[in-house]
């Protein structure tokens, strides 16, 4: 167990005066040309960027923005994949005393328009042609937007709109301004104070339109410091930045913790190569939402099914040992020497290789948060020897507030509050948080601010409780909690994550609030189930067709029976159906962080819900779906409804 509150190698005192730019400037001067601040894989080679280069780039972008007319408190939005230029743009915005806003890379035009307009964005940084196209199409509807800045020249040769400007040109303007006023950059940095707003972050919102949370420099810095007090990082560590910057978790790791600890950020070549690139880097610390870990689990499970007999046996042996040892550790029991020996054997034969393939070979601490993760996945990683920890947080606390401590991990809890954070449970079971990282309020939304922030306490909207060891247990969103037939409360996400442990099931949606029984709508994993169908010589042409085959229903039913095991009768899935399509954030069914928007899907698939609670064994679907490029297609199909046999 790591000692808590151990002083980090470069502990930074956070005063009211300290801002992110001040700290960034100090660190960049300290590390200079000797240390690599970030790396990007470009054209097949990892290219280092030193702290000196980082500072230079940020400086000229910041001055360029000033030269273009950025004033104090102006909003600057960013959209694009994770890449150094994106982070430079954000840091430059903060240095120039603007406020940063990030958009999800795959935001549709309506979402982009809403956020740009609502946030009063003046400048928009887009990566390349795709983002510029989005920006151009909304430019006339967002009168406050002045310039669109791009950095990837690919496909940009025919664009001549005068409000477009390349990042290089912005930096050129910055250099010119520096000649006129050499001390301006330092002056700007010295001006700020910690209380000022640094970022305006839009929460994904499972129910309504996104809300913009205002976060101060102080919020961000204290958050990072408190997390690093629990699990200190070193400046020689590596971190791979591949999750959207629009997600607060990535900001926490790349900005809050990144500049305090000075570890190296690594940017993958393309989003598709992220997994491969993680393996090349072998990060020391990792933070990802559950779906990433779910994906890894699925990969291993599928590879296992494909492996030769001898490999399967070795794998079975090592997981058996792994689970045994992990369970002893979970129960805080000593591990006898012979189990230690077997663990070592499992480690050298299977686990080490497997961890290497998953990019987890050097991971000291792996975190998961942002959504619920099932205990099965959790156990799986501990059985592999990965120190996976749950965290609990939200945008409104600038990241996280509760985390597991090494050696004190319970897979149904999220751990203890980080230093400086108080957590209490309201009378109705809502989780309340108080800490220096609690946000300032919602932008242009005083009603929401008032109901969320009361006497310095943040009302999370989540239901939970503290267990006997003081661990926080998060039940579910308050409004999502079901009342079962027997009157007991029930968290649907618990069952949903259990169902998702099957490699064949990608998404699940459980229904049954105040109903006679529980039912589920499932989305099969196209590649895994498709492969299974190939082996069984089943013919199919599309997801829709595959999902409705009786053999697939049999397969899914088996998975449900597995998930139903050890559940009380009232909480068992009785009826289910396979959805004819995958749930998608573009259809508003999931949030951008892939959380189910329950109220929305209930309304959208009302017929299916009614079908599940009728005597019928099919439900007819007649609907129009919209593709990303605006084309529409008509879908007519019958979905089977299957009752799970015991």
């Amino acid at each position: 167990m790591q000692p808590e509150n151990r002083t980090a190698p470069n502990k930074i005192e956070i005063t009211q005066e300290l801002t992110i730019p001040k700290l960034f400037y100090r660190q960049a001067k300290r590390y200079g040309k000797d240390r690599v601040a970030m790396r990007e894989k470009e054209f097949g080679i990892w290219r280092p960027i030193t702290w000196h280069d980082y500072l230079e780039n940020v400086k000229y972008i910041a001055l360029g923005l000033i030269s273009l007319g950025l004033e104090e408190g102006d909003k600057v939005s960013m959209i694009g994949d994770n890449r150094p230029e994106g982070l430079w743009a954000e840091m430059a915005t903060l240095c120039a005393r603007g406020i940063g806003v990030w958009l999800f890379q795959d935001c549709l035009i309506d979402e982009v328009r809403y956020i740009i307009d609502h946030s009063d964005t003046k400048f928009l940084f887009g990566e390349g042609q795709e983002e510029v196209d989005k920006a151009i199409s909304i430019f006339n509807e967002c009168p406050k937007l002045k310039k669109i800045i791009w950095d990837d020249p690919k496909g940009m040769r025919n664009y001549d709109e005068d409000y477009l400007i390349s990042l290089k040109e912005v930096q050129k303007l910055g250099r010119e301004l520096e000649k006129e006023n050499p001390d301006l950059f330092e002056e700007l940095i010295n001006k700020g104070s910690g209380e000022e707003v640094a970022l305006l972050f839009y929460t994904s919102g499972t129910t309504a339109l996104p809300k913009g949370a205002l976060l101060s420099h102080n919020n961000m810095l204290t958050m990072g410091q408190h997390l690093m007090q629990v699990d200190p990082c070193k400046d020689s560590d590596d971190y791979v930045s591949y999750l959207p910057f629009a997600w607060i978790g990535e900001q926490m790791m790349s900005i809050s913790c990144g500049i305090q600890m000075g570890y190296t950020l690594n940017f993958p070549e393309e989003p598709e190569t992220a997994q491969e690139n993680i393996r090349e880097i072998g990060p020391h610390v990792m933070f990802a939402p559950p779906r990433m870990y779910e994906q890894m689990t699925r990969t291993v499970q599928v590879k296992y099914l494909d492996a030769s007999w001898i490999k399967r046996k070795f794998y079975e042996f090592s997981t058996y040992v792994g689970y045994k040892v992990a369970n002893l550790k979970f129960d805080k029991k000593p591990v006898p020497w012979y189990w230690r020996f077997l663990e070592w054997l499992a480690s050298i034969t299977v686990q080490k290789k497997l961890k290497d393939h998953l990019g987890l070979s050097r991971v000291r601490n792996a975190y998961t948060g942002g959504a619920a993760m099932g205990p099965d996945h959790f156990r799986f990683f501990h059985a592999l020897g990965v120190n996976l920890k749950q965290i609990y947080g939200q945008t409104e606390v600038a990241g996280i507030s509760v985390v597991h401590r090494s050696g004190d991990i319970k897979f149904d809890t999220v751990g203890h509050p980080i230093p400086g954070t108080e957590v209490k449970i309201a009378e109705d079971g809502e989780i309340l948080t108080r800490s220096p990282s609690v946000f300032l309020g919602y932008y242009k939304n005083p009603e929401a601010t008032e109901s969320t922030l009361q006497d310095g306490w943040l009302y999370s909207g989540d239901k939970g409780f503290l267990d006997d060891d003081g661990h926080l247990v998060v039940f579910d969103r308050t409004k999502d909690v079901f009342t079962l037939k027997d009157g007991k409360p029930f968290a649907p996400q618990y069952l949903e994550t259990r169902l998702k442990f099957s490699p064949y099931i990608k998404d699940s949606w459980v229904i049954g609030d105040k109903k006679d029984y529980i039912s589920a709508v499932l989305c099969i994993d196209y590649s895994v189930v498709g492969k299974w169908a190939d082996e069984k010589k089943l013919n199919y042409t599309s997801y829709q067709e595959l999902s409705q085959m009786p053999e697939i229903y049999d397969l899914v039913e088996k998975q449900i029976r597995e998930a139903n095991k050890d559940l009380p009768d009232a909480a068992k899935v009785v009826k289910f159906t396979n959805l004819y399509k995958e749930l998608d954030a573009d259809d508003d069914e999931l949030t951008r962080t892939r959380k189910l928007r329950r109220a929305f899907v209930e309304k959208r698939y009302e017929d299916i819900v009614n079908g599940l609670y009728s005597e019928n064994d099919t439900v007819h679907v007649d609907t129009t779906i919209k593709y990303e490029d605006g084309r529409e297609a008509h879908i007519k199909t019958d979905m089977q409804i299957r009752t799970v046999k015991d």
Partner: protein, 273 residues
């Protein structure tokens, strides 16, 4: 070899004059003449069996026409072998992908670069100095100009045969581009691709044609009328080995003979629009 800079934008790069090619008694090409100017995308359309692929095979040297002359960069190339024509800056892709399935994507593309490697077998086996430097330069070209352009970073080291068809087509294009051609012959690059892949491929063709670093003249054989009419500067219509017309996309679309011979058969050649 004629230096490519001697031929300016708009000059004739490739000229076919009265080409006759017959197999036994079947005349696949009966006196075809075509002028391709530098910098343009020149499409060749025609019903199945019209002789389009035969025409391409004559141009790159797989077939020798019995009559007529082929002039490339001002030089008569009738008697040159395919690899000699490749050395003049002519490369192509095939209707059915012809990649080396067992080799990685990168190796396939490198193969297209082979013609530019100066070092021989001896210096290659020692691999120091000039040879190593040369390879680094070629690597840079392949990575920065081809892999980045075609967005195939994620499959760089995958065996080509395992990839989906659409990606194999992209790899084949990559190999053709590795030659840094002046003339690129694309034989049905869109056949068998889904809508998204068609859009990508069309974008790559435009990029290769327009982007300053490339500016490759393209000779495009294609059935997808929507793409042909959108991309092409000129369209050449072939039917049963005879030229029907050669003109701009608008002229071709309005020509009654073309409509009768070809465009009228809407079901067969329905555009994907």
């Amino acid at each position: 070899m004629v230096a490519s800079h001697a031929i300016k934008e708009g000059d004739i790069l490739l000229e076919l004059d009265d080409i006759h090619m017959s197999f036994g008694k079947v005349a696949a090409l009966a006196g075809v003449s075509l002028k391709v100017r530098k910098g343009e995308i020149h499409s060749v359309i025609g019903p199945n069996g019209a002789g389009k692929t035969v025409m391409m095979n004559c141009i790159n040297g797989l077939y020798r026409p019995q009559q007529g002359s082929i002039t490339y960069k001002g030089e008569r190339i009738n008697d040159l072998k395919p690899y000699e024509r490749a050395a003049l800056g002519m490369s192509r892709t095939f209707q059915k992908v012809e990649v080396f399935g067992g080799m990685t994507v990168l190796d396939n593309i490198r193969l297209g670069r082979h013609i530019h490697l100066k070092s021989g077998i001896t210096s290659g086996s020692i691999y120091i100095g000039k040879t190593a430097k040369e390879e680094v330069e070629h690597r840079k070209f392949i990575e920065e100009e081809i892999i980045d352009l075609l967005e195939i970073q994620h499959i760089r080291s995958k065996p080509t045969g395992m990839l989906p068809y659409g990606l194999q087509k992209r790899v084949e294009l990559g190999r053709a581009l590795a030659l840094k051609p002046d003339l690129l012959i694309l034989d049905e690059p869109l056949a068998g691709l889904n809508l998204e892949e068609v859009e990508d491929m069309a974008r790559f063709i435009l990029d290769v044609n327009e982007e300053k670093r490339w500016q490759v003249t393209c000779l495009l054989v294609e059935h997808d009328m929507g793409v042909v009419m959108d991309l092409s500067d000129r369209v050449f219509v072939l039917n049963f080995g005879n030229m029907i017309m050669d003109g701009t996309p608008e002229e071709v679309q309005n020509n009654p003979e073309v409509i009768k011979a070809y465009l009228g058969e809407e079901e067969l050649y329905a555009t994907r629009k």
